[in-house]
């Protein structure tokens, strides 16, 4: 009797365990990204066959994210971690990965995808670099996702990983990737066309967040509110910048949503330039809810400001 009850217990336990295992196996691939831009691209490729969560919010400075234990729980369950790389997350991602207890997302594992490896990276420093130049990124500027061409490369890389993890879903991911690439090609043509009349427009940005964006749309970034990357504005630098802007007739100041507007506004007052809060990331403002809407929002903002100020 006793042993029978034991056997029933054991059998039911095994049954529950097996069912839970098979549910797990059929469940969606769990993708964690460091930023919302990568999450948006992963969502385009993975569709409803994956779940995607971003660690950083789009309106948050991605250099300074806190390594909260709640992120450890997310990484613990992840099948795939996609990061921006180029040392953008160096201040917070390594301890999260280390404490995740998840062998799949450790550095170099199959579930660790550094999205920057194939992308076109700008501003890779040459020769000797020191921190006298501020918080420079020795591996190049990590804000490379702001070029649709790089988004295509990232999309293909994400597709490769997803298809490797779920070979049965390969056709599904492939059709989604192709659809994404087609829509992005169309959108990119439209965006480049929209910006064509404003080629060469001069502007100033707070941080070096927009080199790839400027390159793609032919904009001319002539200065930065930060004297050096990661160094807050100084009065002397601000004064020099105002003089330069007056000389070159620069009428636009772009500020990322996570920077203080005090200095940019005073620059705007002194030069008559328009100060734009321009999100470099999906989710930076409510309207920029996916990768396409981010460019729609940013380019419309820019064009309206150019028209208003006659910056061109």
């Amino acid at each position: 009797m006793y042993s029978l009850r034991n056997k029933i217990c054991l059998a039911s336990f095994i049954a529950v365990f097996t069912v839970s295992l098979s549910v797990h196996a059929q469940g969606k691939l769990n993708v964690v990204t460091t930023t919302e831009d990568l999450a948006a691209i992963a969502r385009e490729v993975g569709g409803d066959h994956i779940t995607v969560e971003s660690i950083a919010k789009g309106y948050q400075d991605p250099h300074f994210v806190e390594a909260k234990p709640s992120f450890i729980l997310r990484l613990q369950k992840a099948n795939l971690l996609i990061l921006v790389g180029r040392d953008l997350e160096i201040g917070w991602l390594p301890p999260l990965i280390q404490q995740s207890r998840n062998s799949k997302v450790q550095v170099g594992a199959d579930g660790y995808l550094d999205a920057s490896l194939q992308a076109r990276i700008l501003e890779i420093p040459q020769g000797q670099i020191t921190r006298a130049e501020g918080d420079v990124h020795p591996l190049g500027n990590p804000h490379y996702w702001l070029d649709p061409e790089n988004a295509k490369i990232i999309g293909r890389e994400i597709f490769d990983r997803l298809a490797r993890f779920r070979p049965d879903d390969r056709p599904y991911f492939e059709s989604r990737l192709n659809d994404f690439l087609n829509r992005l090609n169309d959108a990119e043509r439209r965006w480049v066309g929209m910006m064509a009349p404003y080629k060469g427009t001069k502007m100033v940005t707070y941080h070096r967040s927009f080199p790839n964006f400027a390159e793609r749309f032919g904009l001319d970034i002539v200065g930065y509110v930060e004297p050096k990357p990661g160094i807050p504005p100084t009065p002397q630098h601000t004064l020099d910048l105002i003089n330069e802007m007056k000389k070159a007739n620069v009428k636009l100041v772009l500020v990322e949503p996570y920077f203080d507007l005090k200095t940019p506004n005073s620059i705007g007052r002194a030069t008559g330039a328009e100060v734009l809060v321009m999100p470099p990331s999906v989710g930076g403002v409510k309207e920029a809810s996916d990768y396409f809407k981010l460019f729609d929002y940013d380019l419309n903002l820019l064009i309206n400001a150019i028209k208003k100020t006659g910056a061109n």
């Binding site: 806190e66 390594a67 201040g91 917070w92 207890r101 918080d135 949503p257 203080d260």
Partner: protein, 432 residues
């Protein structure tokens, strides 16, 4: 006869044909051919010279080195023993230069960082005086991934007295069973302050409770094993840590034989309240032999110390302005039960602190301390501090602290403490 005439005939015919051809060709074509031949000749000359040089180099290696070397030889991968250093039994002549040929091999060097901690003190303190100026600590950190299974972290502390290994451990981040395993010398997971290195504290010093009950600056820092596991539950982040140490930690634990180990346990719960606010709670336990019963390196008394601790941290950091504003409120309570020849000393200590970042580079904080002493629970020390910190950049900070301490056995100390911290090398992650 026929055999001899055939090649002759052939040459004659070729000459005739070529002559005829030459007559029809232009001067330019001849020049072009000549140039081609010259180029070929030059090419062969170069190759021949290169071969000769290589042959000579091989010969010179096989035989004793000749008095003169050809200036065209590749830069030698050797270094000479410096002048004046010859003799004394050391090596002579050329020395090999390892790794000089392949700068790429340095890619596997660990991340290296050095953090300087320069302290100044003014005012009076008769009980625990610190020097006016001191290069308190230079911490050297070496960190790298060892292999696909482990990473290693070393922290050497260079002080005025010498060098100590503050921490040096191997971490296995992906052991089956969801465990995080560490082996080596490490700061024990007792509370919060005990786990933190000097340079990440929001003060120039450590609270009185740490000094009186948890081993002061070095704290519980010992050689041993650590196993930590996340406890799955649908509500909060919950982590349990168990550690076994040799049993030697500053003045808290002292071990005289192999069986006298010390044990530390910690349970941590964490929950996000909003995206900007979170709460972090912990309870800790530690037990080991203490020094009060040790006579001539033999633990005659077999007295033990047991520590119980609770810690609570509230953090606030608005994500949109995360680099400009933040607040951390923290408190730790520690209860020490120390067995001694004169009976068990039961001492309680605690601190409350708050640190507010009011601008990108500026932080202000206060701390209230109160602690009995581990070896004499009748003595109670109290302290109050106000701290102001300025960050020129992420890599340096300047801090001033006013500290008032009411000692149980001496006059009240009023001090102004100054700290300059600076870091070079790899950009380490910020602890949370």
């Amino acid at each position: 006869m026929k055999l001899h005439t055939l090649p002759l005939l052939l040459v004659f015919v070729i000459t005739l044909v070529s002559e005829g051809y030459a007559q029809t060709s232009t001067v330019a074509e001849i020049d072009a051919l000549r140039a081609q031949i010259d180029a070929l000749k030059a090419d062969y000359d170069q190759r021949l010279q290169a071969l000769e040089r290589r042959f000579a180099a091989l010969q010179s290696q096989a035989q004793p080195a000749p008095a003169t070397q050809t200036p065209t030889a590749a830069p030698p991968q050797t270094a000479e023993v410096p002048a004046g250093a010859q003799g004394a039994g050391g090596p002579t002549g050329p020395l090999p230069v390892y790794g000089g040929a392949a700068a790429g091999s340095k890619i596997f060097n660990p991340d290296i960082a050095v953090i300087g901690d320069f302290l100044g003190a003014a005012g009076s303190n008769k009980v625990n005086p610190e020097p006016a100026l001191t290069m308190h600590e230079s911490e050297a950190a070496f960190q790298a991934i060892v292999d696909p299974y482990a990473r290693a972290d070393f922290f050497f502390s260079f002080g005025e007295q010498g060098v100590t290994l503050e921490e040096g451990y191997l971490t296995f981040p992906a052991v089956p069973g969801g465990l995080l395993v560490r082996a080596g010398k490490m700061r024990a997971a007792f509370g919060k302050v005990n786990t933190l290195h000097n340079h990440v504290l929001p003060w120039t010093d450590r609270p009185l409770v740490t000094r009186n009950l948890v081993g002061g600056e070095d704290g519980i820092d010992d050689a041993g094993f650590s196993v930590a596991r996340l406890i799955p539950n649908p509500w909060i982040f919950l982590e349990a840590t168990g550690q076994v140490f040799r049993g030697d930690s500053s003045d808290v634990f002292r071990s005289t034989k192999r069986g006298d180990l010390s044990y530390v346990g910690h349970l941590r719960g964490y929950q996000d309240i909003t995206e900007s606010t979170n709460i972090d709670l912990g309870i800790s336990y530690a037990r080991g032999h203490n020094a009060s019963g040790i006579v001539d390196d033999r633990d005659l008394g077999q007295f033990r110390t047991t520590l119980y601790g609770t810690d609570a941290t509230v953090r606030w950091r608005p994500l949109r302005r995360s680099i400009y504003h933040s607040f951390v409120g923290r408190s730790e309570f520690v209860w020490s039960r120390r067995g001694q020849p004169n009976g068990i000393q039961s001492a309680l200590g605690y601190y409350f602190s708050g640190d507010y970042q009011f601008a990108r580079r500026w932080f202000a904080g206060i701390r209230y301390d109160r602690s009995k002493r581990a070896d004499d629970a009748l003595l109670t020390d109290k302290g109050q501090s106000a701290v102001l910190t300025y960050w020129p950049s992420e890599f340096s900070q300047l801090r001033g602290q006013y500290r008032r301490t009411q000692y149980a056995n001496g006059p009240t100390a009023n001090e102004f403490l100054m700290q300059l911290q600076f870091s070079i090398g790899a950009h380490g992650a910020h602890p949370f």
